[in-house]
Symmetry: D3
Subunit: 331 residues, 6 copies
């Protein structure tokens, strides 16, 4: 692991001598005809822009989005934002011992805690067919991918381990719903929660930048998941057809509406519970992230967020950690 300081902690005039991930890279030309390389570079804590005015020939020819670079320079301020004034830059080498995955945004939750919570739930499933199915689907290889993957490209839980974190939130919300309604089939619902987004491990690539794969775009994570689960069911003798249909129904209907790309809408109480729990987990995560990362300067409002169809308002987020400021406001 790297020992370099995190980007988020840097201020104006700080020295930079960092490995960073290329998030964007364009060759541009000034009106006066000079070429330069415009880039956006990141570690797991933040993203910063850097224009490179010379010595970028090799980088421009051989580098691409998702690659790592070694950058030296100074932090400077430009139009209210920080950027790097680059003195030298080069592509990372084998011998540098760095990997793009160390530079991706990562869940704030502890990975082992999350894995334990998840395993605990798989053990609590009492239906033997479902228990066997979960063991097969979450074999070592798939469980590794499942624990690594983000839950999305950019909207919600869009960070390493995000899929696991998101799935755990839904499981807990569904458990609470089962407390309210003993009529719900808990084994079915929790199994559905665990499996509903498993297709995202193939829909997205997350070795470096998060992107949709070709299969992700042509097939989509819903059908990828249902195929994956049906394949495993074929290897379980006597898996009841009715149980299979209801489980596949949970996966297919979990986006709740046809226009959200579910090929069937929820037709059971378990299916509506899964859909609405998914919404609750996803939307609150997405809004929180937007409010944290998109605030306009000198404002409690973000820029317009298309997926929320509005600009968002930040209210009093510091009141728990900063008792004094909270007191002065409302107490």
């Amino acid at each position: 692991m790297l020992s370099q300081t995190e980007l988020i902690t840097l201020s104006k005039n700080d020295k930079v001598d960092h490995f960073l991930l290329i998030r964007r890279m364009d060759l541009r030309t000034t009106r006066s005809g000079s070429d330069f390389l415009s880039t956006e570079l990141s570690d797991k804590t933040a993203s910063i822009s850097a224009n490179i005015w010379e010595g970028f020939a090799e980088l421009s020819a051989r580098g691409k989005v998702g690659d790592l670079v070694k950058v030296s320079g100074t932090v400077e301020e430009y139009q209210g934002s920080l950027q790097i004034r680059v003195s030298s830059i080069r592509l990372a080498r084998e011998s540098d011992g760095v990997s793009p995955q160390d530079f991706l945004p990562v869940s704030r939750r502890n990975l082992d805690d999350m894995k334990n919570e998840f395993s605990q739930r798989t053990k609590s499933i009492s239906n033997k067919h479902l228990k066997k199915l979960l063991a097969q689907v979450f074999n070592d290889k798939r469980f590794g991918q499942f624990c690594l993957a983000p839950a999305g490209k950019s909207w919600h839980h869009a960070y390493i381990h995000g899929l696991l974190e998101h799935t755990l939130e839904i499981i807990k919300l569904c458990e609470l719903m089962c407390e309210f309604h003993s009529e719900l089939n808990k084994d079915l619902l929790i199994s559905g929660a665990m499996l509903h987004d498993i297709g995202k491990i193939e829909e997205l690539s997350y070795d470096s930048a998060f992107e949709y794969t070709e299969k992700g775009k042509l097939v989509g994570h819903i059908v990828i998941a249902s195929s994956m689960v049906q394949d495993e069911i074929k290897n379980i003798p006597d898996f009841p057809a009715e149980l299979e249909n209801n489980l596949i129904h949970l996966i297919l209907s979990h986006q709740g509406k046809l226009e959200h790309a579910s090929p069937v809408i929820p037709k059971t109480a378990e299916a509506i519970a899964l859909y609405q729990a998914d919404e609750l987990s996803a939307k609150v995560n997405a809004y929180k992230n937007a409010v944290e990362s998109e605030l306009k300067a000198d404002s409690n409002w973000t820029r317009f967020i298309p997926l929320a169809d509005t600009d968002l308002h930040k209210f009093n987020f510091t009141n728990s950690s900063n008792e004094e400021s909270k007191k002065s406001l409302f107490d």
Copy 2:
């Protein structure tokens, strides 16, 4: 309280000597010219139809939906459904000591438990302005109505104490979301959850049948609630304007979309949490109820449910209480 047997327990040929609530009453005429009174009668457990062929003059002239009647007769089967063959019927009298409220559907949860859970939450609010506001809004009179009212006319939590039960579910879901996200302002969110549907105590009448009031139809529970809360805030010196705007925003935006009659859409992380928790609580309750009460004979499917835009499927609800049947199916 009444000692009569519950409607839901009656079978063909059982004697009826019951007080029942009028849910529907129409004067009809046969093709051959005979008048009769077609009615639907209920207690809190079920609803049954009865045609009255004679002696209904006074009932027809003075009775109306929501009144109680004393009915004698026998249960018979007609086209696959049970109905009452009426031998005599009369309007209930003062001296009968019965009240329409005893005949309305009621939450299955224990009322005192729910009141305690609610009070516990109001005590846990630490912001002094919100604490004072909640005490004022939930004064004895309003708290009484709040604990009595249904959360809706027919779709979800449409029974006595339903508003309290629904509100508690949302509070617990929001508490869980605050565990996931310490950035959420918990005092604001829980207060909003408590107040968001308070307007329903005036939007609906629930003395006998559940109906929209004139104010309910012309103004609606969202603006009734925001007015009620703003009135009480006026009596609290120094209630911060920013806090008021954010709290009112939670109430106004809690239906999530303009086309669902919210005059503003959620613009804070707390507002989206409240909206989505409301959806989760409401939809699962509604689907569960529909699956229980609308199943077609010899079928695992209900009739078409317009608000779900589909017919609904009942899967394996008995597996927890009936271990044997479950075993034979999937184990």
Copy 3:
């Protein structure tokens, strides 16, 4: 095969001594208290109603929609429609040698002609992977079901052999599009056309009346088809992943829009061709059938057809077969 006269040819006062299929059956009671059995009966040419006033005990107890009955009686007219005045009725027996399938509506096209046309197309596929895949999917058992099934419950090609007829129309339309555009990948497009609706053989039941199966309602023909095809692909070594993704994409996107239950929308030229050819084949068939079967008396207009969102107009359909009437009109 039966030698009885077709329902469509019967007139008032004709004798009935027919085997017929039960399409609807309700036990009803007159206002004066008499029970009777209200039914709708059909052969493959037409449907007629019949009320049975006595001797229906066994039929009522043991018969159900989709069963066959032997009916004797007379055709009479009632409020402008024909119905059967039943003198006797009984359930068909094993020894009668009749089968419900002989009473279902059937495509007007010759089955062997259609099978030949279809086989000819499978032979014309030159890509070896697709050729092998088609052979496996259309094995004897599945091809049998494919040639029997209707393409829908009631809207278009809703008759025995309808799925085959519909698929052939789409194939021919796609071949024409390939003539217009040599850039289209013909093997891929024609294979997609052949496979796109194969899931309907499990989505619908068509032994007697056409109904959705439980799997049909919970999973749907689109995902049934994609699973079926992916299963067979697993048995073909070296089937190219890119080809699989593009073929599955054709199946998943063939309803063209998310709100029409496709989980992805068309993203290739072949996919848009398949979707639009499907629409053309389906809509013209549906409108033609509606115009033929739903015309109101003394009118060139049908009743309101919800799926067309309008009433439909019949114009001059007889002009090719009836030269004289055509001449008097326009020549």
Copy 4:
């Protein structure tokens, strides 16, 4: 009041020595690294852009949108538009005796005429409850704000006194509708017309630039208005509940559709009249303004106007003032 020439009258090469309002201000940098300040400046008649290349340190640090500046320079043409070549610029001072409000767009109608027309209508209300209510709502302070405020940020009547002008148009349209339909409750309808947009005095700020306030974004003018009116009704003894509900209904439903942010849709003949009169007044004003201000050079068409969902066409607007040109065209 200022004696400087109006912006709208300036041409290329004219000298500028003006106080102007800052509508937009961004610090930018050329590719070659020079900073400059890009601004949009306006008086009440027009808006013009100006880039400032030096001496903008104080302005950039202390000025903001809505402030006034003193600018010297020359008008020049750039890519078909006029802009100011700035020789010097400074923030306005106390001693300059200028106020931002003198630089905002203003209604073309005479303010006193409009006030008189409005007062005349309040006098004509005969219902004593409504008369008292109007007197209280339109107290001196609120009436001052009401006469100053624009009716919107940019779409229609988006100028000082615009709210009063718009309200008067609606009143007159409603009076005409009352002539057509004596059944309409004129007192109720005209009172509703007067009050429906009163919430805009708090939804918008209009001291300098027109912006939404925090309350405007979180609560919105519809609920602000209903709260304001309900507060005043509380101070009127015996105000009939039915009248209150119907009046509040007019305010809440005046945007006509849920998706336009009305929490209830029009349910009375008066409510539909108010909604449609509002639409007529607003849309014609908006389209007229767009056609006047957004015409593309050498064209009778404007740019694409998102709120109209089309580009707009200007036809023959000069024919009343310019008889000759009109004659040559059509006479």
Copy 5:
């Protein structure tokens, strides 16, 4: 003209000896096998139902909707509504001297007043091309139809002379808009208002009942009107193309939205004025009529009105004519 009393004035037990129009006529059969003729009969003031139990052979065979009958009998009450107990009924004869048009609902406004108002407006058009065009379109024959026709089948101004009444309302609203905005081309706008619905004289038949014609259903009043106007323009030498395009645009866009069957949306200030004035006139008329005719017994609410998407509320309509009741309510 008839001297018989108006239907609206009849009460229980009154004698009937009236000519009435057949609005609906069905042959029905009781469960016990008796045939009877169920009808709805009307004069211009009201509609009433009547069942005929004998002597209806000729009527049933030769009569149809839109025909007149002579009915004798008595008014009786049945399930809260009045109906006619028929003693004899026959089709009207040539010699009776009655015409179906005397039995259709008619505008309450005086026809000559309306004609004068309309003519006055055509005289005020100063543009010579438009003046000539209006004279040609409103030739004697067409003006006769225009003054007779309803503006719709059932929703708004759905009565004889309704098209003229509706057009006059729009003209007056547009004149008011021209007072607000001198920039509007008044000649163009008023001419457009006069012509916009002229196609309805061919879209509807209104000799007896109001029905869509075949041309009305296949072509529609918008294109009928544009064709009619373009035909007449061809006969006017030198009619300016730009004026024609703008006038046709007013006709085509007057329903404001593509989904309301306008093939283009409003693109000029005049077009938006015409559309919104049309909406205001139509909606208020429709809501008023619905509130008057659809009120449920003992209620201030109508049944659900699909075109309004709500039930409607009647508020205080009698307060102008009935000072006392008004006083007791609000004064």
Copy 6:
């Protein structure tokens, strides 16, 4: 005709000495204050950008989009795209003998072949009224325009002769539908196919760049076509009204939905056939063109295509012409 090399064949460093068409032309200024002319220039095979830094005074003052220029210079590469480094440029002159039409994109099909195919179809119409009508509508002048015009501005068949090519495709698809359904009125349907888009010859201008005309924007091609056809019908004695209504219905409804600007929706089997055949022809052409012209570098995906609501995927288009590459992939 020109002998210059086609743009599509040029590579980096090639000399340019070409006549080209101006597709876009903007005067721009660098940050440092230099003016330059930014243009897009095209021949019929491709489009290329060129910035002109001096000597553009006359061009800028007198040239406009749709004009031709003579350009000398060199091809260079800039940010991955080719552009022209201009050494000299001037407007084309009369004496150059070049015409803008030679620089527009053109159908790849042979014009005479298409004309022959079209004529053959007009001859095959047997109904004498329709035959006469087609002869009149497609008189020499209109047939010339019809054969020249594109079928759209940019989406589908947006090239010279595109309207004829598109119409022929629809005719052939409709002929195939008539093979499937002998009930369709072939003469009516084929005539409707021929006439449905004839209005585009006036809706668009296509002398140089393709643009909407003023009439096109205010009236639209659907009503232009229906007027054109109705005018010609007036000159045919005894043209049956029913035939006219059905033919006009085909034209008016051919865009299938009100929101696609058809003033009536399809109400006959012929109308739905024409609409769906139009969709099939248009969409496949549009997607194919997008996939060919919008591919992103190093990708099988295009940029996001708004009219398809997705990015598009190119699959294996070369496999028919390039057997080897195909073999290596799938065989």
